[in-house]
Structures are given as structure tokens and as C-alpha cells.
């Protein structure tokens, strides 16, 4: 063994020296660490123990009669687990004159030869005493020959029944049914039926089955007992995927949240991230736009980077840098979130924001399975903005106009001509359908397995002319040509077509239909005028909402194929080397056409543009793993590897204006005005990563755990002196529940303390920051034409390096009351230093800033997850609860930036501040304190030019003036608390599930409120509440200011405590009622459900959705013309064949 090790090291060193970048050696545990090796020292072991080990290794169930085998010992030395369970059993049992029979896919029954011969012809065996069922670990079915005639002599009452699985309604064959306190019992047959005889009514039947929670039922007067067994998630998720390998959950030392398919948050999901909503503590999933295909922002334990990306790394089946939207959520088996730096550090420079590992489904050996699931969803706008209705609008504008200029805006004749007016929200919103179909085929043998998934999603948007169509095909194929070689192909190909409305963060002529619908003149008719143009109000620089809906088209087509091909070769037992090649090729095309239907399109004669891009990313990884147990108590596994990656991005754009006709849209750009309108552009950039990684896992006596890892990452983006950086981590764990002193107490079935430290990085900077280059920039108008200029691009900084995040995590994992309550509690402190900062330069240099490393941000918080099985009998009630706190603080800022003001949405700017001691990008503005009531009050105030009815701004520094120095922090863009509460109730195949999520202590700038309180022009419509309760001399107690000449108290003052809103909310995210239909012939399982998403949101926020964010995945939060949240009712069906 030692010699083998030496060779590994030697080979690694050789490779490292000759080809430094390609050394990819390491060891990994491929077979689960086994206690068998421990007994090597002892000459003989109990057969019973040997079988128990086999069961673990092969993930099968082995049934035997205890008395039959109790007497046998086997020589440990002679025995080694192989790939084949049959071979191992043969080896063990043959010398002992024992035989076995396979039962079901993964079950084996051991009998004595004579017994078998006797029982077989009559198709029964005597189940007298000593029948044992080893507690199973694998999620496989097991079936035993029927044993209905058990101990008839003592039977008084015959009880029969049927057992089904509670999760999918499938019947369960092979469930063990035992009369408690006796050895009498039976198992269910293929149809899940059983019949058993019990002595009397007080008898208790114990039902147990692999991968399911055991149940006890008192017989009572019943003779028919139908039960559904609940899957034991603890068991199912025992092995979790970690970076570059898998680990037993009990051996984890870092912070890893693992969510299996059963727990995914359902809905009309385009992104895999939506599946995690409310399900993992410390993880905030925000739907920043509810448009079909809209952005999802995910934050794992806050955000550490001030200026770079705060999105985590997505890894799909080992392929890093994948996209969570270019996959069918229904192909996913489980998602692991590496939350702390110790777990994530193996991904080095891209792990600072956490890592999301997505594992897709695999085929299992056995009968091929076909699954079909589908839903039809009906979507409506969950909440509209409460705008002034047309009569209210006329009244309010007349009143304001009277107060401003003494003349009403509308004469009685005009008012009567207007009639009912138009609700522009009605004009652009509609009820939309969504449908999703997933068809999958899976199966396999012991030499290969396959999974093929086909998905079609078609979601219409609740705003007219928006929608998403997505097609996805996934093939996972695994072959084992020999015992030593395994070849795996994971291939996913995807096409999506998104039709978007115009969404911009600008106002006026450049605003989209939502902005326009909120502010457009409600006295205008939606009909077109005599010239066939939509009507508009010339004083409002907004396009008619319908002109934008019908006259502006924007289509985005993406084709993306990605996958990995890997070969695992077992060099020696315990030593496996993996070569993994992966590629991700994305081609996208954007078309946008602004026709003559809009004012802008009319004046330009149509504006058309096409953008095409190709992004490729390939990876080559070689890593090796070695696992061994020394002296039966030292379990060691080692991983080592190296990777190469390259990203290559290129794009082409073309646009024109002044088209011959709108009919050709973007399909005939050459029909545009070539001289004046044609525009072309293109670009290309690449970047490379080269990494070396290593990890050691050491377990002593299965109680004391140690993990240490290191990754060295090199990037093309930094200069030679900083190309490589090292990201180490270590973690310790102590499974207290394994200590003898704990095993006496029955309280804890599991208790583990863990502590970890790690470093990870963030290289999300642009290319060329360390180089001096010149770029094509600036078009001079000379001689009546444009001449392209060239300018220096930047002042380079060759000292740039990675932002580094250091994190310490303390955790406790526990399970009490026989696993009825389990969970984990963690506390973390995460410091991100060497922030990549655009240091503002004096622009006298001709440059506005230079990228430097400086400053630190800290995130700290508590993550709590609790899972309880409150009721476990026929009526079941399970609860999952996640809770987390977050405190984000800017710890250190460069002296050159005592504070940084940023933010820009619509016409509101500089509302967010980065300042030491405050959360990153806190809201920064003026505090208001009521409303001025009298002219005397105004006269003595810091704002003597104000009028009664204007808001009173707080003179924070008491200098008698309101200046920018009076701004204070008005809120944080980070939630103080997050929680998710999922309750599931089931009874006889009917399941009701409800997920509540909540985000508390978060604020947002509501720019629609800014535009309501400070209308860009007088005629724009406004949010009703601000004007129905506005200050007038007759309404001195009003909540809102007078609205008379509001620009006087607006402008830079508009960022104030009236416009920064509390965006906390509690949402009934999804509620599902499902029914497992009793099985019919030829169908494995069937269920139907009805679900409602976003049924209820409790919030003080006035906009469409407090969760929406105009800055998409950015930290700055602003709500502005967000695509409205959908309330969806889904009707679905799942069928398995």
C-alpha cells in the first residue's frame, strides 16, 4: 500500500515538473470507506458482520435468518469486496453451504441449502424464529417470496392491506410486516398487498422498508389496513455531492445545504435556482424580474464584493461556470449549496460567493422507467399599482392646477368629452397560460445505465407580447466496459426563445410599456387616431403603452449545449483517476425592431438591430483519488488534480434605421438607410484559468473528522507577478453522538460539532486591467463625416489581485427523538478583503478611475435549519423550517473613498452609499419629518422658500440649511432575516403542502413612488394613495405632501424617507394539493395536483413586487417598472410507466 502511495506521489511530481500545469493527480474515495478493512487484523469475522458490510458497499439489502448464519465465521483476509455483489456472496456463502436468491432489483435472501430445497416447491418458507432484516440503507425495492402462511396455528385475526409510498403513490412490494414483539410476519407482494395473522386486537404491526420510515399500527377492530410509508430523507441524502467528489453526510465538516428533488420549490420554473426558494438557510433567492425568463438573483450568506459580481459559481455535474437556466429543472436530482469557504475553497477563485452544485438524474438498473409530468398554469398579475382612476385623475389635476396657477386643468366640457377614460394597466396586462411537459426514460443494467429527459416549457407573460419557449434535451449515459473503467457522458442541449417587452431603467421616450402604462394620461382613448397612430399627450414625453406593446418587438433566441465526458479508471483498489473534458457552447441572437407605430420608430423610419454572439468555454480536468483505512480506525482519502479552462466570447452587431417598410422587421436590414443609419460592431475576448487542487479527508474512529484542501488558481487576467493565488481551507468535526458516553443517552441520534476556516476568491473583473492599451474610442465629426478616434484605455495597475474571502464557520448538526427532529445551526463570519475598487482619479488625468485592491466587507449571521416529522402515522405532518440572519458591514474603505455614492434608475441617481460601518450600498438620503403646516413654521425652518404642505426635511447637522450633509442612511438592501416554512400534510394519498417565505428588514428605493410624488410632468398619472391623502389646508393631517410644484421639494431631495420603502414581505409562495391515484394496470404510478403560486404577499411596499429589483443581480436595490409578479394556478399530472 505504501509503495502504491509513493508511486502516486512520484507520478504526480513528475507530471508537475515536466508539465506543471497538467499534473492532475490525487486520490478519492470511490468505494465508500469500509469497515471490512478494519477487521483485516482479526483473522476471522462474523458472517453476519461481513454481510452487513457487503450491504453497505453494494447498497443492497440482504435478508437472512439469524439462526442460520449466526454460527458462521469467515476469514476476513480471504474476502475483498468486488464490483459484483453476486461474486462476493458466492465467495462468502459457497464454502458454508448457504445459498442466496436475488429478490427484486437489489435484494438478496440467504437460506440454507436444505431449507431452500424444501421451501421452493411449495413456494413458501417457514418463518419460524430468527428471521432478520438488516436495516437497509439503499433506496431500492426488495421483495421476498410470499410468506402468507405464517404460524397459522396461533393466529386469531387475519389482517390484510396495501402499502404505498407517500411521495409518489406507487405501491411498495417487499415491505416487511411484523407483529411487534414476535417473530411472526410477512412481506407485501408485487401489488403491495399483505395478509398477516395477529393474536388479538391489541397486537401492533410494524411496517418497515428500505429507505422509508418505519410505522407501527395497532390492529384494533380493523381487518383491512392501508398505509402509505414516508421516504426517509435522512437516509436518501446520506451521500452528498461536494466539489470533485462525494461524501457521506455524516462526514461533512463544511457547511453544505443539500436539497433533493422531493424538496424542490415548485412553480413555473425556468432556472434551477428557483427550486431552492425558501429551502436553504442563508440562501436568498430573489426573482428580480417576473418576466418569463426573467433574472434570478441568488445570494449565499450576503454579499462580499462591493464592485464585482456577487453571484455564486454554478456547477452542473462537475462542470463549473454553467448556467442555471439552460437546463430543465425536472432533470435535476439534487442541489448542494457549498455555503462556507471551507466547502467552497476547492473551487478557489470563483467560490467567494458560494457554489451551487447541481446533480442531474441517472438511470438505475432494472426495468426501464418512463415518466411523464405536465402542468397547465393560469397566470394573472398578482398585484397592480393603485393609480388614480380617470375621474380621480381629473379631480386631482384640477385641484393641483388651481393651487398652482389658479386655473383648472380641465374645463367641464373637456371632462364630459373624456368620458370613462382608460385604465392603461388593463390595456397591457392579460391572463396568460403556461404549460410544461417533461418526459423521461431511464433504466440500465449492471454494465450501463441511461437517463433521457425531454422538456418543453411555454410560458406566456402577463404583459402582452412577452413570453418564453424553452426546449431541453438531456442524456446521461454511463457505461462500465470493465470493472476498472467507467465512462460517463452528461449532455444537455437547450433552445430558448424569449419575447420581451421593452424594459429599461430610463424614462421618457426611452421608457417601456410598464412605465408608460403607470404614468400615461388616463383621459386618452386607447383607440388609434384618424392617421392610424396611437394617441398621445404631447406634454408627456412617453410613448403610448399600446404603441410600445404592438410597435416594439424584441426577441432573444439562445441555443446552448454543454456537457462533460469523463472516464474513471481504477488503477488499484481505492485509487481512481478521472479525466474529465467539458464544453459549453452558447449561441445567442437578439433582434429588436421599433416600428413606425411608436413616435420614436416613426421619426427614424423604423429602428432595427440584430446582435449575435457565441460564448464558448471548455475545461479539461484530471484528478485522482485514493482512499484507504489504516488499522481499521484511520480512514484517509486524498484528492489531487489540475484543470485548464478557457473562455472565448465573440459577438457581432448590426443595426439600421429608415427602412423601406416595417413589414420586414429585422429580416432585411439592408433595406434601411445605408448612408445614415447603418451601424456595425463586433468584439472578442478570451480568458484562461489554470488550477491545481488537493484535498485530504481524515477520519479517526469515525468520530473525529478533518478536512483540508488547497487550490492554486492562475488567471490570464492578472499580471505575471500575481497570476497565481492559493486558497486553503481546513475543517474539523466531532461526532459526539458516536462517543460511548452519548450512546447511553437516547436523546441524540446524531450530534456533530464542526468548525471550519477557508479562503476563496473573486476574479470577476474585466480583461486587460493590468495592460496599457489603446482602444477605438471617440468619433470626431470632421469634413461632414465621422472619423474614428483612438484613445488610451486606462491607467493600468499591475498589482491587481483577487478579492479574497476568508470565512470561519461553526456548526452543529443534530437529530433527536429518533430522527423526528433534525437540523443544523451555524454561525459564520465572512470577511472579503482586497476589494476590487474603481479608485476615482482626479479626472484632470483624463481618466475617471483606476482599478485597485482595497477595503473589506464583512458578512456574519446565523443559519438554522430544522426538519420535523410531527405526525408519522396514517395522517402525516412534516415541517421544514429555515431561518437565517444576516449582518452586512463595510469594514474598511480606502482613504481615497471615504464614501462612495452610486445608483441610477430612471432619473434618480446617487441613492446608495458605501460607507464604513454601514451595509454595502445602503440607501442614503434625506429624512422627512412630517409636513409644514403654516407659513410661520416655514419661515423659521431651514427651508424658508418652502410652502405649507411641503415635507419637512430634517436638518441633521443643525446648520440651519438643508444641504447634502443632512443625508442619512435610510435603509439596507440586505435582509436582516430570511425564513422559509414548509408544511406538508398527507393522508391516504392526498397531500397538502404549503411554503411560506419571508424577507424582513430590507429596503428598496421605489422609483415609481419618486415619479408619483415628483411627476416628471404635470399631466402624468400618479399613484393614488399619494394624492388621495395629500396635504391641503383642509386636510392638515395628511400623510403625503401637497403635490403643488413638487419639484421644489424634489430634485436631489427626492431620495428621502418617503421614497425609500420597507421592502419586507411574507409570501405564501406556493401551495399544492395532490392526490396519488390508486394504481391501474400497466401504470406504475399516477398523481394529479393543483397548485397555486404567489397566492398571498403581505407587505407595506406599494409596487408590483417587493422582491423585484431593477438592478437585476446587483446589490443596489431599486424597484422601477418591474415586470409584475404572477399569481399562478397550476393543474398538473405525473404518470410513471
Amino acid at each position: 500500500m505504501e509503495r502504491n502511495l509513493r508511486i502516486v506521489v512520484l507520478a504526480g511530481l513528475c507530471l508537475g515538473w515536466t508539465q506543471p500545469m497538467q499534473a492532475q493527480l490525487l486520490a478519492r474515495v470511490t468505494t465508500p470507506s469500509s469497515n471490512l478493512y478494519r477487521s483485516e487484523q482479526a483473522k476471522m469475522i462474523k458472517l453476519r458482520d461481513a454481510l452487513a458490510e457487503l450491504k453497505k458497499i453494494h447498497q443492497v439489502d440482504i435478508l437472512f435468518f439469524g439462526r442460520n448464519i449466526e454460527k458462521y465465521d469467515v476469514a476476513a483476509r480471504d474476502y475483498r469486496a468486488s464490483k459484483s455483489v453476486a461474486r462476493d456472496l458466492d465467495q462468502l456463502l459457497k464454502p458454508l453451504n448457504l445459498i442466496y436468491k436475488q429478490s427484486g432489483k437489489r435484494g438478496y435472501v440467504i437460506t440454507e441449502k436444505q431449507a431452500e430445497q424444501k421451501a421452493s416447491p411449495e413456494n413458501k418458507i417457514t418463518a419460524a424464529a430468527g428471521m432478520e432484516l438488516l436495516t437497509p440503507i439503499a433506496a431500492a425495492t426488495i421483495q421476498l417470496r410470499t410468506q402468507r402462511e405464517v404460524s397459522l396455528a396461533i393466529a386469531d385475526i387475519s389482517v390484510s392491506g396495501k402499502i404505498i409510498a407517500s411521495d409518489n403513490g406507487e405501491t411498495l412490494p417487499g415491505v416487511s410486516v411484523l407483529v411487534k414483539g414476535t417473530s411472526q410476519g410477512t412481506t407485501t407482494d408485487q401489488a403491495g398487498e399483505f395478509t398477516v395473522s395477529v393474536p388479538d386486537q391489541s397486537s401492533v404491526l410494524v411496517f418497515s422498508f428500505v429507505g422509508y420510515v418505519s410505522q407501527e399500527v395497532t390492529v384494533g377492530s380493523k381487518t383491512r389496513l392501508n398505509l402509505s410509508l414516508e421516504p426517509d430523507t435522512k437516509v436518501l441524502s446520506e451521500v452528498v455531492v461536494v466539489g470533485y467528489g462525494t461524501q457521506k453526510k455524516s462526514d461533512l465538516t463544511g457547511s453544505v445545504a443539500s436539497i433533493g428533488e422531493k424538496d424542490f420549490t415548485q412553480g413555473v420554473n425556468n432556472s434551477a435556482l428557483q427550486l431552492l426558494n425558501g429551502k436553504a438557510s442563508g440562501v436568498q433567492i430573489s426573482q428580480s424580474s417576473s418576466a418569463p425568463g426573467g433574472g434570478i438573483a441568488i445570494r449565499i450568506r450576503g454579499a462580499g464584493s462591493i464592485n464585482s459580481s456577487n453571484q455564486p459559481l454554478i456547477v452542473i455535474d462537475g462542470f463549473p461556470g454553467a448556467s442555471a437556466t439552460s437546463i430543465s429543472p425536472e432533470d435535476i436530482e439534487s442541489i448542494q449549496i457549498l455555503k462556507d469557504a471551507s466547502a467552497a475553497a476547492i473551487y478557489g477563485s470563483r467560490a467567494a460567493n458560494g457554489v451551487v452544485l447541481i446533480t442531474t438524474k441517472k438511470g438505475k438498473s432494472g426495468t426501464p422507467k418512463v415518466n411523464y409530468s405536465a402542468y397547465l398554469g393560469v397566470q394573472t398579475v398578482a398585484r397592480r399599482m393603485g393609480l388614480l382612476t380617470t375621474p380621480q385623475y381629473i379631480d386631482v389635476l384640477n385641484d393641483l392646477s388651481m393651487e398652482q396657477s389658479g386655473k383648472p386643468r380641465y374645463t367641464p366640457e373637456q371632462i364630459s368629452a373624456i368620458g370613462g377614460g382608460t385604465d392603461w394597466q388593463d390595456q397591457i396586462f392579460h391572463t396568460a397560460l403556461a404549460q410544461n411537459h417533461q418526459l423521461s426514460f431511464s433504466g440500465g443494467s449492471d454494465k450501463s445505465n441511461y437517463y433521457l429527459g425531454l422538456n418543453y416549457l411555454n410560458q406566456d407573460g402577463v404583459v402582452l407580447n412577452s413570453g418564453l419557449k424553452k426546449y431541453n434535451i438531456r442524456l446521461n449515459y454511463e457505461i462500465n466496459p470493465s470493472d476498472k473503467l467507467k465512462v460517463t457522458l452528461n449532455l444537455n442541449t437547450n433552445r430558448s426563445t424569449t419575447t420581451n417587452i421593452l424594459t429599461t431603467n430610463s424614462g421618457n421616450e426611452n421608457a417601456g410599456p410598464i412605465n408608460s402604462a403607470l404614468q400615461f394620461d388616463p383621459t386618452i382613448s386607447p383607440e388609434k387616431d384618424e392617421d392610424g397612430q396611437y394617441r398621445y399627450n404631447p406634454l408627456i414625453s412617453l410613448e403610448n403603452p399600446l404603441a410600445l406593446i404592438n410597435g416594439f418587438t424584441q426577441k432573444n433566441v439562445n441555443n446552448r449545449t454543454f456537457g462533460t465526458l469523463s472516464a474513471d479508471y481504477t488503477l488499484l483498489k481505492g485509487w481512481t483517476t478521472t479525466l474529465r473534458l467539458g464544453a459549453d457552447i452558447a449561441n445567442g441572437r437578439n433582434d429588436s425592431y421599433n416600428s413606425r407605430t411608436t413616435q420614436k420608430g416613426l421619426s427614424a423610419g423604423g429602428i432595427g438591430s440584430i446582435g449575435v454572439g457565441e460564448d464558448t468555454h471548455w475545461i479539461s480536468e484530471l484528478f485522482t483519488t485514493y482512499a484507504h483505512t489504516f488499522n481499521g480506525i484511520h480512514q484517509l482519502s486524498i484528492l489531487g488534480g489540475a484543470t485548464l479552462e478557457k473562455y472565448d466570447i465573440s459577438n457581432v452587431g448590426a443595426s439600421s434605421i429608415g427602412f423601406l417598410s416595417d413589414a420586414s422587421l429585422t429580416n432585411l436590414l439592408q433595406s434601411g438607410d445605408g448612408d445614415r443609419g447603418d451601424n456595425v460592431s463586433s468584439g472578442r475576448s478570451t480568458n484562461q484559468l489554470n488550477s491545481y487542487l488537493g484535498r485530504v479527508n481524515y477520519t479517526l474512529k469515525e468520530k473525529y473528522l478533518l478536512t483540508a484542501s488547497i487550490r492554486a488558481d492562475g488567471t490570464s487576467r492578472f499580471s505575471d507577478k500575481n497570476k497565481f493565488a492559493f486558497f486553503p481551507s481546513f475543517a474539523l468535526g466531532w461526532r459526539i453522538s458516536e462517543e460511548p458516553f452519548m450512546q447511553q443517552s437516547n436523546l441524540f441520534s446524531d450530534l456533530k460539532l464542526r468548525m471550519s476556516y477557508g479562503q476563496s476568491g473573486n476574479q470577476a473583473i474585466g480583461n486587460f486591467q493590468t495592460l496599457t492599451t489603446f482602444v477605438a474610442s471617440g468619433n470626431a465629426v470632421l469634413g461632414g463625416g465621422l472619423l474614428q478616434g483612438v484613445e488610451p484605455a486606462r491607467i493600468p495597475n499591475s498589482d491587481l489581485r483577487w478579492e479574497t474571502t476568508e470565512e470561519v464557520d461553526f456548526g452543529i448538526d443534530f437529530a433527536i427523538i429518533k430522527g423526528r427532529v433534525s437540523g443544523s445551526l451555524e454561525y459564520y463570519i465572512k470577511n472579503t478583503r482586497d476589494q476590487l475598487f474603481n479608485k476615482p482619479l482626479p479626472t484632470t488625468s483624463g481618466f475617471q478611475n483606476i482599478l485597485v485592491n482595497f477595503g473589506a466587507v464583512r458578512n456574519q449571521g446565523i443559519d438554522l435549519m430544522i426538519e420535523t416529522r410531527n405526525l408519522v402515522n396514517a395522517f402525516k405532518w412534516n415541517t421544514n423550517f429555515t431561518f437565517s440572519t444576516l449582518k452586512n458591514t463595510v469594514v474598511e474603505l480606502p482613504d481615497f473613498i471615504p464614501q462612495l455614492l452610486t445608483g441610477g434608475v430612471g432619473f434618480t441617481a446617487n441613492y446608495a452609499i458605501v460607507k464604513e460601518g454601514a451595509p454595502m450600498r445602503s440607501f442614503y438620503g434625506y429624512q422627512t419629518d412630517g409636513i409644514y403646516q403654516t407659513t410661520d413654521e416655514v419661515k423659521d425652518s431651514p427651508q424658508p422658500n418652502f410652502k405649507p404642505g411641503y415635507p419637512r426635511f430634517v436638518d441633521q447637522n443643525g446648520d440651519g440649511k438643508i444641504t447634502p450633509d443632512d443625508r442619512v442612511i435610510l435603509g439596507s438592501p440586505f435582509p436582516k432575516l430570511l425564513f422559509g416554512l414548509n408544511n406538508s400534510f398527507s393522508y391516504r394519498g392526498v397531500t397538502l403542502e404549503a411554503l411560506i417565505t419571508a424577507v424582513q428588514g430590507i429596503s428598496s428605493l421605489d422609483n415609481n413612488i419618486v415619479e408619483s410624488l415628483y411627476p416628471i410632468n404635470f399631466d402624468r398619472n400618479r399613484v393614488a394613495v399619494h394624492y388621495l391623502d395629500r396635504w391641503t389646508p383642509d386636510n392638515p393631517g395628511a400623510q403625503y405632501p401637497s403635490g403643488v410644484n413638487p419639484s421644489v421639494y424634489g430634485g436631489a431631495l427626492a431620495v428621502n424617507s418617503l421614497t425609500i420603502s420597507d421592502a419586507s414581505f411574507i409570501r405564501l409562495k406556493t401551495m399544492t394539493l395532490s392526490y396519488a391515484i390508486p394504481i391501474k394496470k400497466g401504470i406504475r404510478s399516477a398523481s394529479v395536483y393543483v397548485a397555486a403560486d404567489n397566492l398571498l404577499t403581505i407587505t407595506k411596499f406599494l409596487g408590483f413586487d417587493p422582491d423585484a429589483n431593477a438592478s437585476e443581480t446587483g446589490i443596489e436595490r431599486a424597484s422601477y417598472n418591474s415586470y409584475p409578479l404572477n399569481r399562478t394556478v397550476r393543474f398538473g399530472v405525473n404518470v410513471g410507466f
Binding site: 479508471y569 445614415r676 496599457t772 478616434g789 483612438v790
Partner: protein, 484 residues
């Protein structure tokens, strides 16, 4: 064991084949879309491209709304703005409530310093390119010198003396402000030097030539009250005999006439952009426009009181719209309401709408200095030097004759002050909508008093704008203007 070794070798071979290059090579940063200055600046062509970069920053065509009108006319007695989202940006300048956080001030500051940087790149590198013949070398240098000096002069109008950055070296990124005398001396010398280096004519319209440099120098001297020098340089420019007044003032600003002999220094505009975006702000509501035009919600309006100072027969009045029939057939009056109350809503249509405009972009070049300004500058300088004199009167009358208003006579002006007052009026009538009113009022000392008479809370320090706050924060050596 041997088998294992063989396998290791095999693995090594596999990886070796995968990436047959060294680590350092693999991690080299590839540049596809940018240029290496080492080679790029070695050719005349590269130098020319840098010069175009400098020109692009020096031309305030797309940003004229902020620069020419908002900063230079809204705080005066001529023009105001209402409506559109622009109103909130315009109001501080109309109401004398601007502060150092203004994005417009920072915008023009940054743009001018980028022009300075680009000019510095050229001036530092051009001597290394030996292939350029001396005449062209002098011309390129002259253009870069002009762009740099003009940018400084531009900033001076708003901020007073600003740091003179004359190198691309990044050793001192925190320059201090020079004294007024140092600054004025440098810019004057540099413009004079540029005028020497530049040819009288250049092939491309919009390129700097001798006349352009002299024109900027004339105005710089005038605004710094170096009357004699201003008068002299104006004379030198007049004596070039290259420029003359265009006969029909009301047609001067139309795109088809922009190739005239009157425009000296221009910000050239194109319909495909960067364009002149004045007209979308000037069209009144529901004004009948061509389908390829656009009418913004933001409205640039003229004070009725200013309009009323014109002689009714003044041809320059033809460039105003005071009433129109809107698209709904309704006659709209813009000067006064039925009660004779001023509406302050007349529209200057000086930039005759371009029939080929594309949306908001019209092709009308924006004149920065035209010959009429040189004539009136010399008239003003001579008056300041020696009081009313016949040459000044004659110069003014050239302008008045073209405008078809009666000539003035020397006898009408008993004092320097009287002629100065007339010059301010004459300049108003001649240069409305050309972004000159603020500097004229400041030079003639009426900027603050005129604002106070309009009811604004104007203070003496308002004659200078504050340096952008971000600059003050980034550069501790920079002293803010008094009052801010």
C-alpha cells in the same frame, strides 16, 4: 507495480497531448480588440487617429443641451425651460440653485480633460515619428495645442483657472490650480502658438485652422478683459479676409447653408449623430412636424421681456415662433395671454429644422464663434479701451445692417457705459440660442443684477460655477471656488 507505472506514464501522455503548451503561455492575456501603444503610436496614421480622438472630445455637439443652453443661457434673461424630465435638471440653473454635485458640471469637466489627455498623448509621441514631414508635423502639433488650450479656455469660462495638465505622466495625479495670471498667460501663449502652427485653411470642415485659433484667442482675451490684445487679434483675424457676414441671418443656421464664410469655430453635427438636439426641445406642443422629427416634452422657452427688446423690423426676429396652428387646427399664441400677461413661451427656431433629421438629431452645425462675434468683440474691446469710437460704431452697424435695423450713430452714445449697454443688447439680439449670454453678462457685470431683478437669489460668487464635488474629493490639492 510496473503496470501502475505504465499507467502513470499513459496518463502523463494523455494530459501532455491535451495541452501542448507551457503554463505561462496558456495564461498569457490575449488582446483582440485593443491596440498596443508601442507600435500604434509609431506611425503618422496612429498619430492621426489619436488626433481624431482628441477632436471627438473637444466637440461639444451631442452635449450642447447641457453646455450651450443649460449652463450658458438658463441662468440669464433670455431662456428658460419647463416640462419633460429635463426640468428638474434645468431648474437649479434657472433658479441659481446649482451646487458642486451637478452632473452637467462634472460632465463638461471630464470631457475637456479627456480632450487634454488625448492632445497630450499626441504632443508627447509625435516627435518620435520621424516620417512626418515638417509642415504636417507643425500642423498636427498646432491642432493638438489648440484642442488643449481651447479645452482649458472652455473650463475657465465656468470655473476660473483650472489645473494645467501638460503631460500624460501619472506621477502627479493631484495637480493644484494655478493662479489666474499663470493660467491666462499659458492659455494665451498656447493659442497664439497654435495659430502660428496652423494653416489658414484645412481640408476638413471642423478641423482647427489659424482663424479658429485666433477666434478663440480673441474671445479669451475679451473675457479676461485684455482689451488691447483682444482688439489686436480680432484685427488680425479680420485681416485674414477669409471670413464675412452671411447675407441672410435668418437662413444662416440652416443645414444647407452651414458651409458659409461666417462660421469660424463650430461643433459640427450630423443627422445620424452626434446631432444638434436643440429643435426637439424648441417645438411647442402639437407643433406640426415632419414624421422623421421628434418633439420632446422638455420645452426651451424665451422670456417675453427679452423678445420685446427687439426692434419689430429686426430680421433676427424671423427666427422666433410666437404663434402657430397646432396639429388639431388650434391657433396657439406664445408671447402673451389674452390679458397681455407674458407667457415667456416664444420659441427660438434659430436652428432651422433639418429636413433630413433623424429623430432628435438634426444636422445643423453649432457655431461656437462666428465672424459677427469677432466684429462685435473688437467693437467692445475698442470701447473699453477708449470709449465710444467710430470704428466700434461701424463694426456694430455691419451687424445691424444685415439685420435690417437702423444704423446707430456715435452721437447716440455719450459714454463708454452707454455703448457697453448697447453692445450687450446687440449681442443678445445677435447671439440668442448660441450659448453666449452668460459670459457676456458676466463680462459686462450684469449677470448677478439681472438675475436678482428676475427674483433669483443670486450671489456675487455665482459668476463662477463650483468645481465638481468628485474632483474636490479625489484631489486634495484642488481648492473649491469661494461661496460653494
Amino acid at each position: 507495480m510496473k503496470k501502475i507505472l505504465n499507467k502513470s506514464v499513459l496518463i502523463a501522455l494523455v494530459i501532455g497531448c491535451l495541452v501542448p503548451m507551457s503554463c505561462k503561455e496558456f495564461l498569457a492575456e490575449e488582446v483582440f480588440t485593443q491596440y498596443d501603444p508601442q507600435s500604434f503610436l509609431q506611425s503618422e496614421d496612429g498619430i492621426k487617429k489619436v488626433l481624431y480622438g482628441a477632436y471627438s472630445r473637444s466637440q461639444v455637439n451631442g452635449g450642447a443641451r447641457e453646455d450651450q443652453w443649460t449652463l450658458s443661457e438658463f441662468p440669464t434673461d433670455m431662456t428658460l425651460e419647463s416640462g419633460g424630465q429635463f426640468e428638474k435638471d434645468a431648474l437649479p440653473f434657472i433658479n441659481f440653485q446649482w451646487d458642486a454635485s451637478s452632473g452637467f458640471l462634472r460632465g463638461i469637466w471630464v470631457q475637456m480633460y479627456i480632450a487634454v489627455r488625448d492632445a497630450n498623448v499626441l504632443l508627447e509621441n509625435i516627435d518620435k515619428v520621424t516620417s512626418i514631414p515638417p509642415a504636417r508635423l507643425a500642423q498636427y502639433k498646432g491642432e493638438a495645442q489648440f484642442i488643449r488650450a481651447e479645452a482649458f479656455a472652455h473650463l475657465y469660462r465656468y470655473f476660473g483657472p483650472v489645473p494645467l495638465v501638460l503631460t500624460t505622466s501619472t506621477d502627479d495625479l493631484q495637480p493644484a490650480r494655478p493662479t489666474d495670471a499663470e493660467f491666462v498667460a499659458f492659455v494665451s501663449n498656447e493659442l497664439a502658438e497654435a495659430a502660428k502652427n496652423l494653416p489658414v485653411s484645412q481640408p476638413l470642415r471642423g478641423q482647427a485652422d489659424k482663424g479658429v485659433a485666433l477666434a478663440v484667442l480673441t474671445k479669451f482675451y475679451l473675457n479676461t478683459k485684455q482689451w488691447q490684445k483682444s482688439a489686436d487679434v480680432a484685427k488680425e483675424l479680420i485681416d485674414l479676409k477669409k471670413y464675412k457676414l452671411y447675407p441672410q441671418i435668418e437662413n444662416l443656421f440652416a443645414t444647407e447653408n452651414e458651409n458659409n464664410d461666417e462660421f469660424i469655430f463650430i461643433y459640427p453635427c450630423l443627422a445620424q449623430g452626434p446631432g444638434n438636439q436643440y429643435m426637439p426641445h424648441a417645438f411647442p406642443p402639437n407643433y406640426p412636424i415632419l414624421s422623421n422629427w421628434i418633439n420632446y416634452g422638455a420645452q426651451f422657452r424665451t422670456y417675453t421681456a427679452f423678445y420685446k427688446t427687439f426692434d419689430p423690423i429686426d430680421r433676427r426676429l424671423k427666427m422666433f415662433v410666437t404663434e402657430y396652428t397646432d396639429t388639431k387646427g388650434k391657433l396657439q399664441k406664445l408671447l402673451e395671454d389674452a390679458d397681455g400677461k407674458p407667457l415667456d413661451n416664444a420659441r427660438s427656431f434659430k436652428y432651422t429644422p433639418d429636413p433630413n433629421a433623424i429623430s432628435q438629431n438634426h444636422g445643423n452645425d453649432i457655431p461656437v464663434i462666428r465672424y459677427a462675434d469677432i466684429l462685435l468683440s473688437r467693437a467692445e474691446a475698442l470701447n473699453e479701451l477708449s470709449g465710444p469710437n467710430q470704428e466700434s460704431i461701424d463694426l456694430i452697424n455691419q451687424i445691424r445692417t444685415r439685420a435690417a435695423v437702423p444704423a446707430i450713430a456715435l452721437g447716440d452714445f455719450p459714454s463708454k457705459e452707454k455703448l457697453r449697454d448697447h453692445l450687450l443688447k446687440e449681442r443678445g439680439w445677435e447671439f440668442f440660442t448660441e450659448g453666449k449670454r452668460r459670459e457676456d453678462q458676466i463680462r459686462m457685470g450684469t449677470f448677478i443684477s439681472s438675475a436678482i431683478s428676475r427674483g433669483k437669489n443670486a450671489q456675487p460668487f455665482h459668476v463662477l460655477y463650483p468645481l465638481p464635488q468628485a474632483e474636490i474629493e479625489a484631489n486634495p490639492n484642488l481648492k473649491q471656488n469661494d461661496g460653494y
